[in-house]
């Protein structure tokens, strides 16, 4: 099953969802409208033998003023991986969660929320997974600034002068 066959099959079933192909090298991606992502993935899982969600991650494109969620659907039967990308607005990005279809999405979506701030509607427990609960900001965004202090501990190695590191002075 080639990429083109998959594209044609999805286009036939969901004409309004498939927004086009991203002609990237070496692998192309399918652009899917965010509103229809759950039905597309459900169709791929039930009818096209894409049994597993390989990966779900966020992307941040400040030049396009967009953020993106990339889904990698894996098929054991066809030995293939297909990438679906859903573009969202950069501020207030929200998309439907696919936890009802794949349990892997539970933690993967939590990580995309933690790192990019993308909200997943319908997720049972959307909270931070890697950073602490009281962390401010979404680290993998391109405009993220490392905080100066966290709970009283200095975060960077030095503030302005590389010769003056915020050295250790812990007391007993």
């Amino acid at each position: 099953m080639t990429f083109e066959e998959i594209h044609q099959k999805l286009l036939a079933k969901f004409p309004q969802a498939v927004q086009g192909i991203e002609e990237t090298v070496p692998e192309k991606s399918l652009k899917i409208h965010p509103e229809h992502i759950v039905s597309v993935i459900r169709f791929m899982k039930d009818e096209m033998q894409f049994e597993t969600l390989g990966d779900l991650c966020g992307l941040d494109y400040p030049a396009l003023s967009a953020s993106c969620v990339a889904y990698h659907m894996q098929s054991y039967a066809h030995k293939k991986v297909v990438r679906l990308k859903c573009y969202l607005p950069r501020e207030g990005a929200a998309i439907e969660s696919v936890t009802s279809l794949f349990k892997a999405a539970n933690w993967l979506e939590r990580e995309a929320f933690d790192m990019f701030g993308i909200r997943f509607n319908g997720h049972p427990e959307l909270r931070r997974i890697l950073c602490p609960e009281d962390w401010v900001g979404h680290p993998l965004r391109k405009d993220y600034q490392t905080p100066d202090y966290y709970n009283g501990m200095p975060v960077p190695l030095y503030f302005d002068n590389p010769n003056e590191s915020t050295a250790g002075n812990a007391h007993k």
Binding site: C131, N151, V155, G168, A170, H171
Partner: protein, 165 residues
């Protein structure tokens, strides 16, 4: 120490210092890759047990040496302080590896990495390396033993008791 045939004369604080430095029980506190080298030091090829660090205690209440082996993250830092405070006196800390010395390879963009464990606990010996070889960790333990001998003998019994209070 004045050894004779069947009697040895010494001072109390020398005996205390000898006992303390030759039976440093470490806390199992491996965080990341350096933990694997710490386990290798404790295994058969580079035996740590012959230095007295026989049993790695799982609870801080029974340990007197904390080897911070691995990257310290901001989420983990408060737990390290709690564990340090739960250890009874006298206690020592070895910072193993460049991550716990000064942040290691994650010093530049690590928004979640604490650049050195000496920001939360006072460190006695720093071990460089990424990860340090087991022989380096053994040298660090020997250096700590020397430090204990010098410190305790210079302060005397009253001095070390006063330090604990």
């Amino acid at each position: 120490m004045i050894p004779s045939d069947s009697v040895v004369m010494t001072s109390v604080d020398e005996v205390l210092s000898w006992g303390r430095r030759n039976s440093l029980w470490p806390l199992t506190f491996g965080l990341a890759c350096c933990a694997i080298e710490m386990m290798a030091t404790g295994a058969s090829d580079y035996d740590l047990e012959r230095f007295g660090c026989g049993v790695f205690r799982a609870t801080p209440r029974q340990a007197d040496l904390m080897i911070v082996a691995g990257t310290v993250t901001l989420k983990m830092a408060s737990r390290i302080r709690t564990l340090y405070e739960q250890m009874p006196e006298p206690k020592w800390v070895i910072s193993m590896g460049s991550c716990s010395n000064k942040g290691g390879p994650y010093w530049h963009e690590g928004y979640h990495v604490l650049k050195g464990v000496d920001r939360v606990v006072p460190v006695d010996v720093y071990v460089p390396g990424c990860p340090p070889r087991p022989e380096t960790l053994l040298e660090a333990v020997m250096m700590l033993q020397k430090k204990i001998r010098v410190q305790e003998s210079s302060m005397g019994l009253l001095g070390s008791l006063r330090k604990q209070v």
